[in-house]
Amino acid sequence: MATIHVDGKEYEVDGSDNLLHACLSLGLNIPYFCWHPALGSVGACRQCAVKQFKDADDTRGRLVMSCLTSATTGTYISITDPEAVAFRASVDEFLMANHPHDCPVCEEGGHCHLQDMTVMTGHSLRRYHFTKRTHLNQDLGPFINHEMNRCIACYRCDRFYREYAGGTDFGVFGAHDNVYFGRPTPGTLENEFSGNLTEVCPTGVFTDKTHSERYVRKWDMQYAPSVCMHCSLGCNVSPGERYGEIRRIENRYNGTINHYFLCDRGRFGYGYTNRKDRPRVAFIAQDGKLAQASTEDARARLGGLLRGAKHVVGIGSPRASLESNFALRELVGAENFFDGHSDAEHVLVAQAIAILRDGPVASTTLKALESGDAALVLGEDVMQTAPRAALSLRQAARGLGQKLLAQQKLQHWQAGALENLAQDHYNPIFVTATHATRLDPIATETCRAAVEDQARLGLAVAHFIDPAAPAVAGLDAATEARAQRIAECLLAAERPLVVSGTGAGSAEILQAAANVAWALHARGKTVGFFLAFPEANSFGLGLMDARPLGEALDALANGAAEVAIVVENDLFRRAPTARVEAALDKARLVVVDHQDTPTTRHAEVLLPAATVFEGDGTVVNNEGRAQRYFQVFDTAYYHPDIATTESWRWLRRLLSDVRGDGHDASTFDEVSSACAAVLPQFTAITKAAPQAKFRILGLKAARTPHRYSGRTAMRANLSVHEPRASQDADSPLAFSMEGFNGTGTDNTPADQRPGALVSYAWAPGWNSPQAWNKFQDEVGGHLRGGDPGVHLFTANTQASTTYFTHIPAAFVVDNTTPRVVALPQIFGSELLSSRAEPVASRITEAYVAMNGTLAATLSLAEHDSVAVTIAGSVLSLPVRISDALPDGIIGVPDGAPGIPRIATGAQATLKVGAAA
């Protein structure tokens, strides 16, 4: 703690911060550009100048950059000093000298930090009338627009992209006032976190191209606190809607999860919700085809179907909310409720949950990963399966720089010094995988082997850490030595990390990871343990202890069950086609989904479900944190004939039809409380967010900024008589600008907005994402109203460490029937995002990867076509030679067009030449 004096007032601040950070945390406004809470200070823009005085008696003072000055005790500064004010205004004027006359046609306009700072510094009149410098733009691919004229050379983009995110295809070019920020040559930005440039850049140089076509200003969109559905991490997002379409995803700050950054799958994968081919009304099969039907007809048909059926099974989904899965379980009965994962994933998810819930080490958070100082990534290709975690792991690796800074007695925010000191030195990270991963460039050591061998390595590491953990017999000397190296390194670390997950498709990998984490725990280490799960709500569905899907398919195929209700799931992604078809051909199928999938085409009745943006729900992320997502907009407002609603609401309606009790208007809180009451593992979910009756100063929280325009015109084409604004019985949010829109203050808890109810970043004078600093307890810290989400269980520290003792046998290479592994892909593996046009355009073409040895035995060269037979289906695929693959293993990209879902450990035969 330090005491500083700002404009004659005394404040207590954290002395290790810089003055800018400290003043912003106090709620004082100092304009700035180049400083960013996650990127530190470089002093490039000179916008943050304040007057510093020697002591209380000094009246002359001198200008200093607040972002480069420590907030030590006895600091006297003035923000409002006339000289400092004039200096800041002139800095802004200089930055604007070459600025184009673009605001009306600039997609940053209305949430532009440069606009905000120009207003804040008071620069309002252009005095520079000479010619302006111009730049040519680059095509940066389907995600990002480039408009270099608007650059103010703050260097944030470069620092984020190259240093923070590890991108290699971007940089600063040119010299003096000509500097250019872009790629060496035009082309798609390769880094998986490129989308953050749109928020990191304080101007309109980088904007969201996916938003461009249907652009609207930030103030014109309706928002709700939401959760990303594209992997298990549950990053918080702020989706914006206008005229009944989702227009953009922005990051929503959560100080324990994603804080300032998202991955590109999460940011640009929203297009599935706007697809024209989505079911938006009910459908009933007629003459083998689905035909539109009214909700009443569909319900009448379903009521008859369900009442008449002897045995109904319900199949849930890891991409549906807890409430939807629960409502299905309620409708069909617990004994008829089946897991929506594939059978292999069912086992993996159960294993991962058991490890985290019953073991002595609970999951760490995404944010906490960043403070690790050594890591073992066991078998999980995090960049492809849980991308945001790879960014956090990179920060753990970069943490070495912080140690070096501390040794030099420098401050943690001195970003320039950090880069010079750290160069390419990282904290140790060990990566094991079947194939090359995007973490390899920062890895100390990589191990590429079959999952059994990776698991054996992991188990050996655990044994070296704690001899009580089982030893692995028969390891070769190199592996033995490697295991010892890893063990020593993890033991030497202050905060070792163990990262793994279900992505490798191996329970043995999960067990090995658990052994390592538990061994470190047993040795008294504070270990950060992190497991990635298959999908957004895999953890939640796994906790419901449903029976495996295969049993439901068997029951349907052999006639034991006659009706199947499938909720938000495409069974063809979960089991082999023949098996699913055998079941669905016999069954009478009811599907509730928001996408048109091969499964919906078999339906007798199809009910249109809401996407995450159109309904309320709770999902449980990979750390066991239940998070609420809120409905962003009312679909019926612009299109009264649309019948989409949450699956849980459909299922509750069906329940009331079956029971005939007429109670078909369940609210979210009813369903969620029922879930919490019936299943004790979910007791905490009702605390994930305030319930519908919650009010702040007597108000609901507003979903739209107060400047929201066109309220009396946007629907006037339908009718000039405006309907009442849609009412929301399910949440404490209003479909309107009428409601609480404040950021809350420290001293009056009455106006505190719970973190779970912050829909978007805005504060008076702060329209850009920089406004998050107004919501945080300290800049870059936690939300003042609490980071959203609750953990469903706390660490079971009392649990004794009972190591897994099963040691898998080593992998036996067999190049005649090599093992096929599905290589997870950030773009393509996840269903919903791959249905968004911009993401779809980034999905790789199908190929088969193999190492040079195998290719040579088959006399294959790169790009040659080879017929691959996997589980009976023959695919003709071009060859990619990659020596990162071990012997006896071939890889195909998961989710590439034409590639079926590959079962774990599937064997393949290869035939040279195109398929017959």
Partner: protein, 182 residues
């Protein structure tokens, strides 16, 4: 005593009023025989709103949404689109609900391109309120309106077909990044 004084004052004030009204018989008349006779309205009178074109005949509106944001009754709504052939921003549709408009002229003041303008036409009455909802085809005229010369794209830095980077007013030729010359 006070009551009598008040009655007298009241009486006097009524007489003055009567006299003033009577005197108006000889004053110049402000009312006209509308609609047979049309009053003169200055060009800057704030009546029916139009969307104008730039001097080159292209749509001026760039769909920046500022008019909609400033409108106190929220009666303007539009959607931005980009013309594939030349990259110009334009409103895909543009709607004003004149049954809500209060003719304050804020939209015209906010417009950075001089596209939206108020005109002296005030005859907007309709039997059916729905007819007061004007779409772009009802709003867009073929001329420049009150401001004849302004063409936003000549000053804006964004390039469009026919106006590459460096071709706008007061713009230097694009930088050659590879040059190290001062």
């Amino acid at each position: 005593m006070n009551d009598i004084k008040r009655i007298l004052i009241g009486f006097w004030s009524n007489l003055v009023t009567l006299w003033l009204i009577f005197a108006h018989l000889w004053r110049h008349k402000d009312t006209v025989n509308y609609p047979e006779e049309m009053p003169y309205l200055p060009p800057r009178y704030r009546g029916r709103i139009i969307l104008t074109r730039d001097p080159d005949g292209d749509e001026r509106c760039v769909a920046c949404n500022l008019c909609a944001a400033v409108c106190p009754v929220g009666c303007i709504s539009l959607q931005k689109a980009e013309r594939p052939e030349d990259g110009r921003w334009y409103p895909e549709w543009f709607r004003i609900n004149f049954s809500r408009c209060i003719y304050c002229g804020f939209c015209e003041e906010a417009c950075p391109t001089a596209a939206i303008q108020l005109t002296p036409d005030f005859e907007l009455a309709e039997y059916d309120r729905q007819n007061m909802v004007y779409e772009k085809e009802h709003l867009l005229i073929s001329g420049t309106g009150k401001y004849h010369d302004y063409n936003f794209y000549r000053v804006a830095g964004m390039s469009i077909a026919g106006k590459p980077k460096g071709a706008a007013e007061s713009e230097a030729q694009p930088i050659d990044v590879k040059s190290l010359l001062p």
